[in-house]
C-alpha cells in the first residue's frame, strides 16, 4: 500500500483557488479540480480550501467523503474505474477487473506500493451499449477486452501519458439506431429560440420589426412571446422525461408566477440510473438543442441563469460542452444581449462527483450549492424554493430538448405524436442481450415487443424497465406499452436473454443501492445494507424461506418509511423478482430451516488459536 511520505506541493491548489470565488457553493467544483490534479485531496489542500471558502475543515472532509470520485487517500498516477452495472457484468467486466489487477500486480481498491496505479469498481458509467466500460484518469473508455487490458497494463507500467494512449480506447459512439420526428437531425442553433420570441409577433404587432417586438423594453410583445411559448408548452402536454412525468408547463408557469428577485433553470444531466445513457448522446449530438431549451425556459420564466449539472462520468465531454456554450455566446444565443433583444441568460456547467442520489432534484440542488448531495424535505418544492432558495425549474436533459422542439414546431405538432396521456416521442436506452444496443426514439405507446424486435432481442426472458429502481417485466408482459399510462420510464431497457440467471441482477442492484444510499434516513441506510446482506446470504446457498420473508418485510418497510424516492424504489426489483422469477431464487433456497450466514465453528478459530485448545468443547 502506497503511503504519502512528503506532502505534495500546494501550487496547483493555489492556482485552482484563484480561479474560483470565495463562495462556499464552489466547494465541490474546487475539490473536483484538486482531485484531478493530485488524484486525491491532500490534507494540506483541505486546509487551504476551508480557509479560502471560510468553511470548516469538517465540512470539506464531509463533502470529500460523500462523493465516490473524491478520495482522501492517494489513488495513484493512473486511476482505473471499471463500470459495475449488470450490463457490464454480463459483458464480463468482473473478470476484466481481476485480470487488470493481476497484470498490474495490485489489489482491487488499493494503490500499488510504488504509487503507480489503482483499480476500482464504480456504478454504471453510462456506456452500457458499448461495454464493458470504465474510466481512466477521468476519461471514459469503452469496449474493454483482455487485449485492451494488456495494453492498459503496459502503458501504465511504462508511464505513458494519457494523451499518447490509442485514441480508439476513448471512442464513445452515439449508436443512435432509430430516430423518429424529434431527433431526425440536429436543428439549426437559434431556430427554436427565435421561434419562441416570434410568438409574440402576431397580427397586431406585424408592423413592428422583429427586434423591436421582442425588445424587453417594449414590454407587451416581449412578454407575449414568453406567454405564447408557455401556451404552446401547455398545448404540447410535454411531461418530464426524467421518469416521473410531471407536466413541464405547470412547473415553468409556477416558477414564473412566484415573486422573487432571481430564478434559476437547472438541467439535470446526472443520469445515474444504471442502464441510462440518452443524456450522454443528447449532450454529444444535440447539445445545442438542450441549451436552447434551457434558454427558452429562462425566457419563459424570467431567469437569467442556467446550470447544467452533469455527472463526472461524462468528464470527457467537458471541452465539447464548453466549446458549444462559447460558440453560442459568440452567436448571441447566450450572454447579456441574446439575439439583440436585451434578454440576458447564461449557462454554467456544474460537475457531479459520483453520486446516484444527485439525480434526485433536491439532492442535485444541494450538490450545485457545493454540499453533500442529500435530498431536502419535500416541501417547499424546488419550483418555489430551489437553488439558493429561489424558484428553480429542474428538468431532465431530454425535457429541455423536447421543449425547444415545442417552441420550434408548436404544441399541437408535438401532441400529435405519442398517446393520449404521453405526448411526443421518447428516447430509449437499449442495452444487454440484443443484437443492436443503443438509442431508439419511438413515439410513446410503443410496445416492449416492438422495441425488442427492432433491437434484435426478442428471445429475452426479461427486461428491466427504467433501471434498478423501475420495474422488471417478464416475457408474459412484452405487449405492455412504454408510456405514462402503463410502463412509465426514464427510457432505460436492460435486456436479459434466456441464458441469464435473474438472481444475478438482484445481487447487482442490491449492491448498487447499498452503495448509493445517501445515509440520511435510517430505513434506507440500514435497509439497503440488510437487503444486500440477505441477498448475499441467499447467493452463498445459506438462504431459507425465513430469509425471503425477512427480505419482503424490509421491502415493505422501505417503501413506506424511506425519506425520498431512492429508498422507496429500492424494493421494486426485489418484489418483482420474487414474484416473476421465483425459480432463480428457489434453486438457491436449499434449506427449509434457518441457517446462519456465517460459519459458527470458524467463528471460534481465533479463540482456539489464542488458547491452544482443540477439545470437543472448543468446536461447534
Amino acid at each position: 500500500m502506497w503511503r504519502e511520505e512528503v506532502p505534495p506541493a500546494m501550487d496547483a491548489v493555489h492556482a485552482i483557488l484563484e480561479t474560483h470565488e470565495r463562495d462556499p457553493g464552489e466547494l465541490l467544483q474546487i475539490l473536483i479540480e484538486v482531485q484531478h490534479a493530485y488524484h486525491y485531496i491532500p490534507d494540506a489542500a483541505v486546509e487551504l480550501v476551508a480557509e479560502h471558502l471560510r468553511v470548516t475543515r469538517a465540512h470539506v472532509r464531509g463533502v470529500v467523503g460523500f462523493y465516490s470520485f473524491l478520495s482522501d487517500r492517494y489513488l495513484g498516477e493512473y486511476v482505473v474505474y471499471i463500470s459495475d452495472n449488470i450490463t457490464d457484468r454480463m459483458q464480463g467486466s468482473t473478470g476484466l477487473a481481476t485480470y487488470l489487477c493481476n497484470r498490474l500486480g495490485v489489489k482491487l481498491g488499493e494503490t500499488r506500493a510504488d504509487g503507480r496505479a489503482s483499480v476500482h469498481f464504480t456504478s454504471c458509467t453510462g456506456m452500457c451499449d458499448q461495454g464493458p466500460a470504465g474510466i481512466v484518469n477521468g476519461l471514459a473508455v469503452t469496449r474493454l477486452t483482455r487485449q485492451r487490458m494488456d495494453v492498459f497494463a503496459e502503458l501504465i507500467n511504462k508511464r505513458t501519458p494519457l494523451p499518447e494512449w490509442p485514441r480508439e480506447f476513448f471512442l464513445v459512439e452515439d449508436n443512435f439506431r432509430r430516430s423518429d420526428v424529434m431527433f431526425r437531425r440536429p436543428v439549426e442553433p437559434g431556430a427554436a429560440l427565435k421561434a419562441a420570441m416570434k410568438r409574440g409577433d402576431d397580427e397586431a404587432l406585424k408592423e413592428i420589426h422583429f427586434e423591436e417586438a421582442v425588445d424587453p423594453s417594449s414590454g407587451l410583445a416581449w412578454r407575449r412571446g414568453a406567454d405564447e411559448t408557455l401556451k404552446e408548452l401547455y398545448r404540447s402536454d410535454l411531461r418530464g422525461r426524467g421518469g416521473a412525468g410531471f407536466k413541464a408547463a405547470i412547473k415553468w408557469e409556477t416558477c414564473r408566477d412566484i415573486s422573487a428577485p432571481e430564478r434559476y433553470v437547472v438541467c439535470n444531466a446526472d443520469e445515474g440510473e444504471p442502464g441510462t445513457f440518452k443524456d450522454r448522446v443528447l449532450l454529444t449530438t444535440y447539445a445545442d438543442l438542450v441549451f436552447e431549451g434551457m434558454t427558452i425556459c429562462g425566457y419563459v420564466v424570467g431567469s437569467s441563469r442556467g446550470v447544467l449539472y452533469i455527472r463526472q462520468e461524462y468528464w470527457y465531454l467537458k471541452p465539447h460542452l464548453e466549446a458549444v456554450l462559447e460558440r453560442r455566446r459568440t452567436d448571441n444565443l447566450l450572454g447579456r444581449n441574446i439575439l439583440g433583444t436585451g434578454f440576458a441568460f447564461d449557462i454554467d456547467i456544474h460537475w457531479g462527483a459520483g453520486a446516484y442520489i444527485a439525480g434526485m432534484e433536491t439532492a442535485l440542488i444541494e450538490s450545485v450549492e457545493g454540499r453533500r448531495a442529500k435530498p431536502r424535505k419535500r416541501w417547499p418544492l424546488p419550483v418555489v424554493a430551489g437553488l439558493n432558495r429561489r424558484p428553480t425549474v429542474v428538468n431532465n436533459v431530454e425535457t429541455f430538448a423536447d421543449a425547444a422542439m415545442v417552441a420550434l414546431k408548436g404544441g399541437a405538432w408535438f401532441a400529435g405524436h405519442g398517446t393520449q396521456h404521453s405526448a411526443g416521442t421518447k428516447l430509449f436506452c437499449v442495452s444487454g442481450d440484443c443484437e443492436r444496443p443503443g438509442i431508439y426514439e419511438y413515439p410513446f405507446g410503443v410496445s416492449v415487443r416492438e422495441l425488442l424486435r427492432d433491437c434484435g432481442g426478442l428471445d429475452a426472458q426479461a427486461v428491466q424497465i427504467s433501471g434498478p429502481s423501475g420495474i422488471t417485466i417478464s416475457r408474459l408482459e412484452f405487449d405492455r406499452i412504454l408510456a405514462y399510462e402503463d410502463l412509465s420510464t426514464v427510457g432505460t431497457c436492460m435486456i436479459f436473454g434466456p441464458q441469464r440467471d435473474m438472481f444475478d441482477a438482484v445481487r447487482n442492484f442490491t449492491q448498487f443501492f447499498r452503495h448509493e444510499s445517501c445515509g440520511l434516513c435510517t430505513p434506507c441506510r440500514v435497509g439497503t445494507s440488510l437487503l444486500s446482506q440477505l441477498v448475499e446470504k441467499v447467493a452463498a446457498g445459506k438462504g431459507s424461506p425465513v430469509d425471503v420473508q425477512e427480505i419482503e418485510r424490509i421491502c415493505q418497510l422501505l417503501k413506506s418509511t424511506a425519506h425520498c424516492g431512492l429508498g422507496q424504489t429500492v424494493p421494486n426489483h426485489l418484489i418483482d423478482s420474487l414474484l416473476k422469477f421465483r425459480g432463480d431464487w428457489d434453486k438457491r433456497l436449499v434449506t427449509t430451516d434457518f441457517v446462519p450466514a456465517f460459519d459458527l465453528d470458524a467463528a471460534l478459530h481465533q479463540a482456539r488459536e489464542l488458547t491452544g485448545r482443540d477439545d470437543a468443547l472448543a468446536h461447534l
Binding site: 425465513v546 430451516d593 434457518f594 446462519p596 450466514a597 456465517f598 459458527l600 467463528a603 471460534l604 478459530h605 481465533q606 479463540a607 482456539r608 489464542l610 488458547t611 491452544g612 485448545r613 477439545d615 468443547l617 472448543a618 461447534l620
Partner: protein
C-alpha cells in the same frame, strides 16, 4: 380452565437488566401466573427446559460457545422465541468489541492489563470459548419477535407477554417505543 402457557427465559451476553425489568411488572406477575407458568428461568433457577414451552424470552447477544448451545436449546424447545432488549437484537454493549480483534481484546485484559499477574490468556476447558464477534440472536437462529429497549420497560414486556399468552400477535404501541 385452559392449560397454562409455559414461559422460559435466559440471559446470554446480557446484564440481567431485562430480567430486572421483567420483575418490574410487580403484582401483575400474579395475574400472569394465573395464565402461565415459568419453566427454565433464572427467576426460579430451573436449569433446563423439560419438554416444549410456548414462549422463550432471551436477553443478551451471543458471545461464546455456551451462548450458542443455550440459544439452540431454546430454539428447539420454544414455539415462539423473542429477542428481548438491545443486546439480543443488535449485540448491544458487548458487541462494541466487534471493531477489535479477539486477540487485541484478550491481550488487553489478560496480558497487558494493569495489575495482571501470571499473564496468560485463560485456556481452562471449563471456560466457554469466545466467538470472534458478538452476534445478535437473529443471526444465529430464527427469531419470531423482538422487544426493543435497554431495557424494555416493564409495561412493554407486560404488553408483549399478555398478548403472547393470549395467543395474539404482539404490537407495541408507539408510546411504549418512545425512549425520550
Amino acid at each position: 380452565m385452559a392449560k397454562k402457557r409455559k414461559i422460559a427465559t435466559c440471559s446470554l451476553a446480557g446484564c440481567f437488566g431485562c430480567h430486572m425489568s421483567l420483575l418490574d411488572i410487580d403484582e401483575r406477575i400474579i395475574a400472569l401466573l394465573d395464565l402461565a407458568e415459568f419453566d427454565r428461568s433464572p427467576i426460579n433457577d430451573i436449569k433446563e427446559i423439560r419438554g416444549m414451552v410456548d414462549i422463550g424470552l432471551i436477553e443478551g447477544g451471543v458471545c461464546n460457545v455456551e451462548n450458542v448451545h443455550l440459544l439452540h436449546h431454546f430454539r428447539e424447545h420454544c414455539r415462539v422465541l423473542v429477542s428481548v432488549g438491545e443486546c439480543a437484537i443488535t449485540g448491544g454493549i458487548p458487541s462494541m468489541r466487534n471493531s477489535l480483534s479477539l486477540k487485541a481484546c484478550l491481550e488487553e485484559s489478560y496480558i497487558r492489563g494493569v495489575g495482571v499477574e501470571n499473564a496468560h490468556i485463560p485456556d481452562d476447558p471449563e471456560l466457554p470459548l469466545l466467538l470472534d464477534k458478538v452476534r445478535p440472536l437473529h443471526e444465529v437462529v430464527h427469531i419470531d419477535y423482538r422487544v426493543p429497549g435497554c431495557p424494555p420497560s416493564a409495561d412493554a414486556l407486560w404488553h408483549v407477554l399478555s398478548a403472547l399468552v393470549a395467543g395474539r400477535d404482539p404490537h407495541l404501541p408507539p408510546a411504549l417505543l418512545k425512549y425520550d
